[in-house]
């Protein structure tokens, strides 16, 4: 399969933004699923991995905004820090996916994912500490909210995203990272 075209990247980004609205509704039946499973992060991270930083950034900004406008979740008060978090996820994951080449697809994916997820959590924590909840946000709240509560979501994302990328490669919907000669 040839390199992924800019038009296809654009449409994949649109698809991922739409999934940011749809996926959280699938998790709706589970109490507190948004904070625990973070379903909106999955399409954003995937968009970054496949399409690169700029498209991941757009997906991270527009995904939560559309979800809030269409479904009321996340609520308006939580929207700005979430947009920052998701934008950094998409952007950093995409940039790392472009720059990291270890000759192993799994290693590349995990390095990009972990880097993006850490950067997004740090950015969201900084945004809350400096802007949105200045003076009322502690390190314990950050660690509790972004690592302890969200642990099931982190595990799901780390297990699921490489599987989705491989499934898409196998289905021929995206090119293989290291094509067999």
């Amino acid at each position: 399969m040839k390199k992924i075209t800019a038009v296809k990247k654009s449409i994949i980004t649109a698809v991922c933004i739409a999934l940011c609205v749809v996926l959280p509704q699938a998790f709706h039946a589970i109490p507190n699923a948004g904070a625990v499973y973070s379903p909106m992060h999955i399409p954003v991270l995937l968009c970054g991995l496949i399409c690169g930083g700029p498209f991941g950034l757009l997906c991270g900004l527009a995904g939560p905004l559309f979800a809030s406008l269409f479904t009321g979740m996340p609520p308006a008060a939580k929207l700005p820090p979430m947009m920052i978090e998701c934008a950094v996820y998409g952007c950093v994951t995409g940039l790392l996916a472009r720059t990291v080449h270890t000759k192993s697809t799994y290693a590349d994916l995990y390095i990009s994912l972990v880097g993006g997820m850490l950067a997004g959590r740090i950015a969201a924590g900084l945004a809350k500490a400096l802007i949105f909840s200045a003076g009322a946000y502690s390190m314990a709240a950050w660690a509790g909210g972004y690592f302890v509560t969200a642990l099931p979501g982190i595990v799901i994302q780390l297990a699921l995203l490489p599987s989705i990328v491989f499934a898409l490669m196998k289905a021929g919907l995206i090119p293989a990272r290291y094509p067999k000669k």
Partner: protein, 262 residues
């Protein structure tokens, strides 16, 4: 899951339908800022009256206008109850186990529910009264200042409009896959949390595969028709705002400013 919470476009010739799409989008953002800054119950009453006026002006049937919010009645109930029982433990009416219902909790619950409700209904009015193409143009117009720093705003607007078109399709597709997984024994309705979570996970890979299949087909069709992202043939000239657009913007800004300042 089966129904999209926000209504689809309904053609019409009302004052609201005739407003410029970007003016309506700007008005929505201004109104949302005002709603978020509202801190009193009478304030929400004013917003509710304003929203009803908008719905009447747009000639939208009440079922369509409030349908999206009505579908979330259980969600609103849970939010209200949770705030009532857990928000204000300092001055509770009574204490029982972990529950301490209080007046502060009730007020906080009403605040949250009223904000989400208004946000949903206002977004609904915009979506029902604005054609998808007008929405794309509106987004492109609002994003156009970003051209100065090299952001391809026409591409971004195209991506956002395609995303909006895909949302109902994916709701339907996810629902179909969900039914298929239920037929195979997935227990989405199980009262056990772990079983619910286990049932949702096998839903994700087929949803992504189906979504990317659609992306592949659409991008192929666009490329076959000569669409290119690097081609900038012409710069779009947007029509100037009419008096009605300026009036709507001024009205919304004045109302929101009153709530933000007061």
């Amino acid at each position: 899951m089966k129904q999209l919470p926000v209504g689809l476009y309904q053609p019409g010739s009302s004052v609201i339908h005739r407003l410029d799409g970007s003016a309506k989008l700007l008005c929505l953002f201004i109104l949302l800022a005002g709603v978020v800054h509202t801190a009193s119950l009478p304030g929400y009453g004013i917003w509710a009256a304003f929203t009803v006026c908008l719905i009447r002006l747009a000639h939208i049937p009440p079922g369509t206008a409030f349908g999206s919010a009505a579908r979330l009645k259980w969600f609103f109930g849970v939010i209200l109850l949770m705030n009532l029982c857990f928000y204000g433990p300092e001055h509770p009416w009574m204490r029982w186990w972990i529950f301490c219902p209080s007046y502060e909790g009730l007020i906080q619950g009403i605040h949250v529910v009223a904000r989400v409700f208004l946000l949903l209904v206002l977004s609904n009015v915009l979506m029902v009264s604005t054609a998808p193409l007008a929405m794309t143009d509106a987004m492109e117009r609002l994003l156009s200042p970003l051209r100065l720093i090299g952001v391809p705003t026409d591409l971004a607007a195209m991506i956002l409009s395609v995303a909006v078109q895909f949302i109902p399709t994916f709701f339907e597709e996810t629902d179909n896959i969900r039914k298929a997984q239920t037929a195979r024994g997935a227990r989405f309705d199980s009262p056990k949390l772990w079983e619910k979570a286990k049932a949702v996970l096998p839903l994700l890979v087929p949803v992504f595969l189906a979504a990317f299949q659609r992306a592949d087909e659409l991008s192929l069709a666009m490329e076959a028709r000569g669409y290119r992202t690097d081609r900038r043939v012409w710069k779009k000239k947007y029509p100037p705002y009419q008096a009605a657009d300026w009036l709507a913007l001024l009205l919304c800004a004045a109302l929101a400013a009153a709530f933000i300042i007061i």
